[in-house]
């Protein structure tokens, strides 16, 4: 009998699928619904210390190959998210990941301390937010130094709760960035956040569609880039990876596992495939395991690295 049970930094998931941050992650009920729809763990919307309304609309706009969003760091703040995480416990037994962000290293530390009050199973640091202290407000995740500093600050305040650092591909080298996170105490790497950013222009009105002009790109369009990022992280670290970006099908999820992911993030696929997408991917992965007589997804993790270059 194959099971989908997955152990992620000591936390047990009944499926490797993890609801990605920012997708249906604002409320306890919504998170619990996705858990019962088949996610092995769910991630909250990234929250900071204070509520933020975010950008005006349009802030989430699909294009035929994926989705652009500039909801940015809109969130109800730590107080509210702590309440939601606690309420979630009454509704579901699936692990919950608190996603946090800050605009300074200190804020990352502060919000982690707050998040810890809710006793989430994991804390994920979203380092794709702009570092207000850095030149040009570059994201923490774009710079080895600031990513290291955030990792340390979050780890320091997370106590016994394992910490994931969620990386972006917009950095000098995601493999080396993951290594830096590992060296600074990260327990998990989540790869990747949205890519780009991207833009769409409404030609009739001759102006960008997104209120913020640009937005992160997610969905099937970015799958190959996310998969490569996971492969690179795997090649550079021994940390478990939550492979995220464009996963819509069981085959996509299997590719992520084979590239080195222990768990697989699913976000935009909720649009492309509906909430059933979790059940559908689970079913497909289970069938793949069963066909090969594998008892769990664990043996697939990183298995494609063995093959090496496609030249004998």
């Amino acid at each position: 009998m194959s099971s989908l049970r997955t152990v992620l930094a000591g936390v047990i998931l009944e499926s490797p699928l993890v609801l990605a941050s920012g997708v249906l992650g604002l409320t306890a009920s919504s998170l619990a619904r996705i858990a019962s729809a088949g996610a092995g763990a769910v991630t909250t919307k990234s929250f900071g210390t204070e509520p933020r309304a975010g950008h005006k609309g349009p802030s989430v706009v699909p294009y035929p190959q994926g989705i652009l969003n500039c909801v940015g760091l809109s969130n109800p703040g730590a107080d509210a998210m702590i309440r939601e995480i606690r309420a979630y416990r009454a509704l579901s037994s699936a692990p919950v990941i608190a996603s946090v962000f800050g605009r300074t290293v200190e804020e990352f530390g502060d919000v982690t301390a707050r998040a810890r009050e809710a006793v989430p199973d994991l804390i994920e640091a979203n380092v794709s937010c702009p570092n207000v202290a850095a030149e040009f407000g570059a994201p923490f995740g774009a710079d080895f130094e600031s990513c290291a500093a955030v990792t340390r600050a979050v780890k320091r305040n997370a106590g016994p709760i394992p910490v994931a650092v969620k990386l972006t591909v917009n950095c000098p080298g995601i493999g080396r960035m993951a290594r830096v996170c590992e060296e600074n105490g990260a327990d998990i790497i989540t790869a990747v956040n949205t890519i780009g950013p991207g833009m769409l222009i409404a030609t009739e009105v001759c102006r960008p569609v997104l209120s913020n002009l640009v937005g992160g790109v997610s969905g099937p369009a970015i799958f190959p880039v996310a998969l490569r990022a996971v492969w690179e992280v795997r090649a550079h670290t021994a940390l478990p990876i939550i492979g995220t970006g464009g996963v819509c099908t069981a085959d996509d999820a299997l590719q992520m596992l084979m590239a080195g992911a222990t768990a697989v993030g699913v976000g935009s696929a909720v649009y492309h495939g509906g909430i059933d997408v979790f059940q559908n991917i689970n079913g497909g992965v289970e069938a793949f395991l069963a066909e090969r007589g594998l008892s769990s997804p664990a043996s697939l993790i990183g298995s494609a690295h063995a093959a090496g270059r496609n030249e004998r």
Partner: protein, 266 residues
């Protein structure tokens, strides 16, 4: 790559064809549209340079989609300045519609009259009998009064300027008597909806109720519009919800969440 099938989520732009001024703060806008939409569904309307907001479809006729909007804040105020020829963006239609049935009791309150009017229009087109009651604070907040009256609507207004002086639920017993009611379909302010549901529960009538919640994406991913209870997304599983779905909602009548996701007052 094959040409993709029509995706309601994609942004499309079009020109406002005409505008009906119900009052300075209440207007209907007509947009050319070949969309197939059901009463109860909504679109995300983009005013370039302003914002994008969910608006119910209030009618669909001769290739024109009608949106009826009340000025309540920055977006809707900017919309009041729009004139024929102005370009707007449309995404949708989104969400679920009402299931048309004979002998429906239709109840609209305030801007909730918009989807109810579309529903009445489509029941009339199919020759299905219905009863119709609408209410607003005052006559000047009523859209399509003459047309609705022609369609047999009974009115209520807080200030007595149109129909009975009172709230729309005061008309329910009377409307309920006028014939065999198979289902109650309602849209409007949530306190009104709560009273309607209580009334229908008392008579063991099924109902389909249109909800409003803060919305961003319209495509079921951002989470802004999720209802406490079972996590129903108002933009996908709603806005029209049935009795069983509503039974799982634990936040009926509570203040709504805002753009940050924070419930007002919490």
């Amino acid at each position: 790559m094959p040409a993709s099938l029509f995706e309601p989520g994609l942004m499309r732009t079009c020109r406002i064809q005409s505008v009906i001024v119900h009052s300075p703060s209440l207007k209907s806008f007509y947009l050319p549209s070949s969309l197939d939409a059901a009463p109860g569904q909504f679109v995300n309307l983009w005013l370039p340079g302003v914002d994008e907001k969910p608006i119910s479809i209030s009618g669909m006729r001769d290739g024109l989609m009608e949106l009826s909007v009340k000025s309540v804040g920055p977006f809707t105020r900017a919309l009041m300045d729009c004139a024929p020829g102005d370009l707007v963006g449309i995404r949708g239609p989104f969400g679920t519609g009402f299931s048309p049935a004979s002998n429906s009791l239709l109840i609209g309150g305030g801007t909730g009259i918009a989807p109810i009017r579309f529903l009445a229009q489509s029941l009339r087109d199919r020759g299905m009998p219905y009863a119709l009651v609408c209410g607003a604070r005052s006559r000047c907040e009523l859209i399509f009064e003459d047309e609705l009256r022609e369609w047999g609507c009974r009115f209520a207004s807080d200030d007595g300027t149109c129909g009975i002086c009172g709230v729309v639920t005061d008309l329910l017993d009377e409307a309920g008597e006028s014939g065999l009611i198979s289902v109650v379909c309602a849209a409007g302010p949530e306190p009104m909806l709560l009273r309607i549901m209580a009334w229908a529960d008392g008579r063991s009538l099924p109902y389909q109720i249109s909800f409003e919640r803060y919305m961003k994406c319209g495509i079921g991913i951002c989470g802004s519009c999720c209802l406490d209870g079972s996590g129903i997304r108002v933009c996908v599983e709603g806005p029209v919800l049935g009795k069983d779905q509503i039974a799982q909602v634990t936040e009926c009548g509570l203040p709504h969440r805002d753009a940050s996701g924070l419930r007002l007052g919490e």
